[in-house]
């Protein structure tokens, strides 16, 4: 199993205001698959993504990714884990404003052990002609593709996407999702997307449903669809 989350617990706040963001989560995802985590706001899906990405640590439980027990890693090791294993794509793109598209990608390529060819990745994401533009000079879809390119350049084993299409119109969303599917096929990257958009679940190999910090459904999608046929 590529991702194993066993009895994961995470609590924010204290006393009466304490929120159990993860309350004994069990999660298992195979390598090279696309998994979609569905849940309403406050269900704990973003917390789960943060744990998987090594941005936050569990209070209890175990998290093993690709055989490495991430839940035991210290701050410096977590940084190395993020550096080597994980790619992030966020709803709000989070590109560095003072760098052009190409330079934003170089930021990650610069520290990656075996980075992919930047021009090839940009070509794959169809952002080649925007490479010398600053993030503010791009549309939301273009920025998101640049963010995906930045995440992919290190050829991560795990790509984490947080509300990937949340800020995009349906046309741009479809284009971005097509790229994600292409990445999965082309690079064999394990992709985990969190969303509250049920339609996106159609493209996943595995659909995980979360509510009140607990996984209440973890099913294989036997009716996996092509992005073009999703009703976004």
């Amino acid at each position: 199993m590529f991702i194993e989350m066993i009895n994961a617990r995470k609590r924010y706040g204290k006393g009466e205001t304490a929120v159990h963001a993860l309350d004994g989560v069990e999660l298992h995802i195979e390598e090279g698959k696309i998994a979609v985590i569905l849940g309403a706001s406050g269900s704990g899906k973003s917390t789960m993504l943060n744990m998987l990405g090594g941005l936050d640590s569990l209070d209890e439980g175990t998290l093993i990714i690709d055989g490495r027990e991430v839940s035991r890693l210290k701050a410096k090791e977590l940084t190395d884990y993020r550096r080597e294993e994980v790619g992030f794509v966020f709803q709000s793109y989070n590109l560095i404003p003072d760098l052009t598209v190409k330079e934003n990608i170089e930021v990650v390529a610069d520290i990656a052990k075996k980075p992919l060819d930047i021009d090839e990745v940009m070509k794959a994401m169809a952002i080649e002609k925007y490479k010398n533009r600053f993030p503010k000079e791009l549309s939301g879809g273009q920025q998101q593709r640049a963010a995906i390119a930045r995440a992919l350049i290190k050829n991560p084993k795990l790509l984490l996407c947080d509300e990937l299409t949340g800020a995009l119109d349906s046309k741009s969303a479809r284009a971005v999702l097509s790229f994600i599917q292409k990445v999965n096929v082309q690079f064999g990257t394990t992709i985990l997307m969190i969303t509250h958009n049920e339609a996106i679940a159609g493209m996943a190999d595995r659909i995980i449903r979360i509510r009140d910090g607990q996984v209440y459904a973890n099913l294989e999608n036997h009716q996996k669809k092509n992005v073009e046929s999703l009703e976004l």
Partner: protein, 759 residues
């Protein structure tokens, strides 16, 4: 409104920023008020003190003694007030060292006194001392006693005389040293007991509006043969205090307002930038229905907080520390009561200017931010109109280098703040260090530039070669003795005196010209000292006019060259030419210079100056000046540390989004620092260089402006050690600020940062 609850919360969350902004404002207000209102207050006090004590307008001596009748006649004829001033000098030993006390009695008409501490004299066994001398010798308690010429006096307090506020032993002296000379006041009866031959006298005069000074002086010269005349404006004992006030007024009216302007400007820029970071919340509040004006007013209070806090604290400190500050300013003269003038306009300016500046900055920035589309603001995408011109698409540079270039040149106002932050504090530090170094350099070389003599004897009577001398002939003809004819003249261009020195043998004086050659005194040309050249604005080839103080005859000579001497205003010529100019017989002299101590009867000498005593005087004053500079230096260091901290805080806050994003992407802290924070290292040397240039220039300007105040010209010098010290202060402040604020970044919650990160 509920929104106002944010003030306290914001204050807690940004405590370091508000503290720094408040402290900077406080220091600016403190400096401005202390100097500006302090100087105003002192001037008012001195005007009253001078008027109450009837300060002289001039002092003179005459060959023909003035009788009481003569004085009365002159007073009636010329509407003047004249009083003889008598004193007797006594050497007092206090165990550690011997010092001279000048005993005086109360003057009834001219140059009265005020008791500044303790009480007035009641009996013949009581004595009052000038404050600095009393302090220097520990004679400040009422139980203190002092023995003078076998008589014991009880010290009952301290007093000040307006004509001895800069307590020089001789009006030709440059430096007042309380350790070696002071003034004392005894009762008329006690003074009457002093042997007649110990008493010396001169006359002081006060003019009225009806007085024609020229007519009076002419009459005095013709009837009583004026031998010496010194206007109060030329009298260093009197002039130094008013000169100090004048020069401090320059600081208070030019340098300090500029300083405040820079500090307020920098704080305002940082405040404005902080408000820009609030754009998302401002957008949300606008979306909730808050009107632009109300929001702008709400945010403006964030500017008022440090402004009001700093200003009020500055006012309180200025009033609390007024005595210390006044002591620092008037370190050379007798201490004055610390008076701060409550000039409403200046207090209002000091308090309201920073508050108004911060209020307006935030208010206008807020309105400017709100010009953006609300949706863009909420999404954090405002300021789209910012055009980034440094694309550098074809430049073969790494993204790190391009990023650094854009950070510095693309965000120029941020870069300006960084440089300004270092410049404000650095300027004060460099100014103080340069002043201290210049004074050190001055002490170490000035005495030598005056000449190689060890003793200078001012003779009581004029002597003439080949005539029976009143002093021992062996001294006058000794190989170790150089004869000099010296006399003070009034400069025609300003209220100042210049010493005319007729000398044939340059064995004991430095005659090296600034051009490199040596002055040839034997041909009767006139050479001026370098300090004189600066003071009167003349150079070789120029004319210089001066007036004989007694006869009022004006002379104009051509300057043949400028002799290196930064400590005296001297006009050098041959003894023959000096005699001719003064209408004295050829071969006249009244000063003996020697490298050995001469055994001359005390009665034959009016004054002795030793090179060592001159060096001691200079050193004593330099030490006092260094103390003053040390205090300003400390203030500068505090300003430097606080401005650098404020500036680094701003850099950290503004770059937090990029820093946390890089952390998320897997960058280690050191790598992040190298890319984002270290970029500003390049601006630190710029700030340092500008501070050095500005500080040294200000120091030079200071010394040039205060030639008459210091009675000397001090060449600006800054030693490499001081430059290193300054660089270390800046670098350590910068590094420590980075280290302290760097922890903020280390502790940044990546998950929270993600929510805030927007392009």
């Amino acid at each position: 409104m509920t929104l106002n609850k944010r003030y306290i919360r914001n204050l807690k969350n940004n405590l370091s920023f508000y503290l720094c902004a408040g402290i900077l404002t406080m220091l600016a207000v403190l400096l401005y008020l202390a100097f500006s209102c302090g100087i105003d207050g002192q001037r008012t006090y001195i005007d009253r003190f001078y008027a109450n004590c009837h300060l002289e307008d001039a002092q003179f001596t005459t060959a023909v003694e003035l009788t009481d009748e003569d004085i009365a006649n002159l007073e009636t004829a010329y509407h003047v007030t004249i009083e003889a001033q008598s004193y007797a000098d006594y050497v007092v030993k206090d165990g550690k060292q011997a010092y001279t006390l000048r005993l005086t009695k109360a003057q009834r008409k001219v140059n009265g006194y005020e008791v500044s501490n303790g009480r007035d004299l009641k009996s013949d066994h009581e004595i009052l001392l000038t404050s600095r001398t009393a302090d220097a010798h520990g004679l400040i308690n009422e139980a203190s006693t002092i023995e003078i010429a076998g008589k014991t006096y009880n010290v009952v307090g301290q007093f000040e005389r307006p004509d001895y506020m800069f307590c020089l032993r001789d009006t030709d002296d440059t430096f007042a040293v309380a350790d070696t000379f002071g003034l004392a006041l005894v009762t008329d009866e006690a003074f009457a007991g002093i042997p007649e031959n110990n008493i010396r006298s001169y006359y002081s005069v006060i003019y009225s509006k009806q007085t024609n000074e020229d007519q009076f002086r002419a009459a005095l010269y013709h009837q009583f043969e004026t031998s010496y005349y010194l206007k109060s404006q030329s009298n260093a004992r009197i002039r130094t205090l008013t000169d100090t006030i004048d020069s401090m007024e320059i600081y208070a009216s030019v340098i300090l307002p500029l300083m405040i302007l820079f500090i307020v400007l920098m704080t305002a820029i940082v405040l404005g930038r902080k408000i820009r970071q609030e754009q998302k919340l401002i957008g949300v509040l606008q979306a909730l229905g808050y009107k632009k004006r109300r929001l702008a007013l709400h945010y403006s209070i964030f500017g008022v907080i440090p402004g009001l806090f700093g200003s009020l604290l500055g006012v309180i400190l200025a009033l609390s520390l007024k005595e210390v500050i006044m002591k620092v300013i008037f370190y050379k003269t007798e201490p004055l009561p610390a008076v701060i003038s409550f000039a409403p306009d200046k207090f209002a300016l000091a308090v309201l200017f920073p508050v108004a500046a911060y209020f307006l900055t935030v208010y206008l920035t807020c309105l400017w931010v709100m010009k953006e589309d609300v949706i863009h603001m909420i999404n954090g995408n405002s300021f789209k109109k910012d055009k980034r011109k440094m694309r550098m698409a074809n430049a073969k540079l790494s993204f790190k280098t391009k990023f650094k270039i854009r950070q510095i040149f693309g965000h120029w106002s941020r870069s300006v703040v960084v440089v300004l932050g270092i410049l404000i504090g650095g300027f004060v530090i460099v100014f103080c260090l340069a002043c201290i170094d210049s004074m050190d350099a001055y002490v170490s070389h000035t005495v030598d530039t005056i000449g190689s003599f060890e003793y200078e004897y001012f003779l009581s009577d004029l002597q003439i070669d080949d005539m029976p001398a009143t002093i021992s002939e062996s001294h006058a003809s000794s190989e170790n003795v150089v004869k000099v004819l010296a006399a003070s003249f009034e400069a025609a261009v300003k209220n100042d005196t210049i010493l005319l020195m007729g000398i044939d043998d340059d064995k004991y004086i430095n005659t090296q010209l600034i051009s490199g050659n040596n002055a040839d005194l034997t041909d009767g040309s006139y050479y001026i000292s370098s300090m004189g050249a600066i003071n009167y604005g003349v150079k070789a080839g120029d004319f210089l006019s001066f007036i004989a103080p007694a006869s009022r005859q004006e002379y104009t000579v051509t300057i043949a060259g400028v002799v290196e001497n930064d400590s005296q205003c001297v006009l050098y010529t041959s003894r023959a030419r000096a005699s001719e100019l003064m209408g004295l017989p050829k071969g006249s002299y009244n000063v003996l210079m020697s490298d050995k101590k001469l055994d001359i009867d005390e009665k034959e000498i009016s004054n002795i100056m030793t090179k060592q005593s001159l060096a001691d005087q200079i050193d004593a004053v330099i030490q006092s000046m260094k103390k003053m500079m040390g205090i300003i230096y400390l203030l500068g260091a505090v300003i430097c540390v606080v401005t650098v901290f404020l500036m680094v805080n701003m850099l950290m806050t503004e770059n937090m989004a990029s820093v946390s994003m890089l952390k998320i992407l897997g960058y280690h802290d050191k790598e992040i620092n190298r890319i984002i924070i270290n970029v500003y290292h390049a601006l630190v040397p710029v700030g340092i260089v500008l501070s050095l240039l500005a500080g040294v220039a200000a120091c030079r300007m200071n010394f040039e402006m205060s030639v008459s105040q210091y009675s000397t010209y001090i060449e600006t010098t800054i030693y490499p050690e001081s430059v290193i010290e300054f660089i270390l202060i800046v670098v350590i402040s910068y590094t420590l600020s980075l280290a302290m604020l760097g922890r903020k970044v280390e502790k940044a919650d990546l998950v929270e940062s993600l929510k805030d990160n927007r392009t």
